[in-house]
Homo-oligomer: 239 residues x 2
DNA sequence: CCAAAAGTGTTACAAGTACACCCATGT
DNA sequence: ACATGGGTGTACTTGTAACACTTTTGG
């Protein structure tokens, strides 16, 4: 479909830091969000899923539309246009690829360790970047990331989030670090645990994390049935 | 811009009922949301504002993007296509107007009494309909209205809303009815008032509503400075 | 044996909920 | 005079926030 693209803000969690997957495109200065176009007969959610799969190899990912970026001037430094200008590829005069564009923002939550980042034809690199230490970004992609983060923070108050970002088994402190990183604020250990328990979406496993310094913490995993129920119905209490 | 439209769900409040402004289009069975297209050099928010102004004569209205409807099959009964089929107007073969469409949903909150509904060239009528008694609707417009209502209900918990839907002066029971109508639930009179006061966005006026049966209620209006501050920062406490 | 992280419980305060009485007005 | 809706206050329950002690483990 002409004049509309999809851009995905793909969040991962690693080393207690929130990461975003970015592409370095040849002949272009800044980094860019993985994006793509909508096929003629495709639901836009399927387009986003397809783009995500191409880039990460992952399927069945938490993915959500969050905003349409429709400033008329946002295409002034259109990535496609710049690439065309610097390569042998030529687009027909007045082709829609060179014109003003809308982009639909989706954000995705993925398990960092399960991702195999795959640069595409036009990309030199596909890498994770720390949300607090982003490189210079093309077009309005910096703003798109900030808006995605804002949305994620809001959603954190109504929906369970950890399942998508953490490995299957995790400790309570790890879950807490995830929340603290997303919200960018310190939380009280004891109150956090009580709140999490109150959602009834966690299963405490028999074993503990071994081999780490200090007291071995319990391992947990999500009770997926209850987790998805909570996702649908929302968490009754906000933060 | 081809293949993308904007549809506005325009909410008004009248007779203690929540209303939506709908168009009856000639040669078309169902009613439709006021919608339109995006000019080449226009921010999509400006497009929405323009469409709203054309239909209601109003400016400076509360207007907010809430979702993109991108099901590939949603254009199977494309309004434009149907109108073309039944009139002398002809579009070129394979014109984008006949193809698959995305629509960006905006919702607007307007003062019912200030609106002068204006049917456009293709419309027989432009009328308010009770949200609980909607006529049959074209395409996926019924779903769009439901999603807008869902969004409005959610926003009601974080943002002040009344200013856009009520006349300048109003009583506390009127404000409460508005909230009850949007949320579709009864609220406690005393707790509602306390909560509203706690936001510090209301000014109690000197006079009361006269000429009604029973005890004359106070009139209030919003403290606009504080109201807008609350809009930006959000209301700290949810419901 | 000790520093550092993990597990657990209690108390104080704020917010939300439920509820009852008095007052003013038009009929 | 009275029915009806409007104005206000108080007790109870629930949720949130602050905080301290004990346990385990690797170094």
């Amino acid at each position: 479909m002409p004049c509309v693209s999809i851009d995905c803000v793909i969040f991962g969690f690693h080393d207690n830091q929130l990461k975003v997957l970015l592409l370095k495109i040849e002949h272009l200065e800044g980094w860019a969000l993985p994006g793509g176009f909508i096929y003629k007969d495709e639901h836009i959610d399927d387009s986003a899923r397809r783009i995500l799969h191409e880039r990460t190899g992952l399927q069945d990912i938490f993915l959500q539309q969050f905003y349409v970026f429709g400033d008329a001037k946002r295409s002034d430094e259109n990535i496609t246009k710049l690439v065309f200008e610097k390569t042998e590829f030529k687009a027909p005069e007045n082709n829609w690829l060179l014109q003003r564009f809308l982009t639909i923002g989706y954000y995705a939550l993925v398990n960092f360790n399960a991702v195999h980042a795959a640069p595409d034809y036009f990309s030199e690199a596909c890498e994770w970047h720390d949300i607090n230490n982003l490189p210079s970004l093309a077009m309005d992609h910096g703003g798109i990331i900030q808006e995605a983060l804002r949305t994620l923070r809001t959603h954190l108050h109504y929906e369970p989030v950890g399942y998508n970002l953490l490995p299957e088994k995790f400790t309570m402190p790890e879950l807490q670090h995830l929340y603290e990183t997303i919200l960018d604020e310190k939380l009280d250990r004891r109150n956090f645990q009580r709140k999490m328990f109150s959602y009834h979406i966690l299963k405490r496993l028999k074993d503990r994390r071994k081999g780490v310094a200090h007291k071995a913490p319990f391992l947990y995993s999500f009770d997926l049935r209850k987790y998805h129920k909570a996702l649908q119905e929302g968490l009754q209490t906000a933060w």
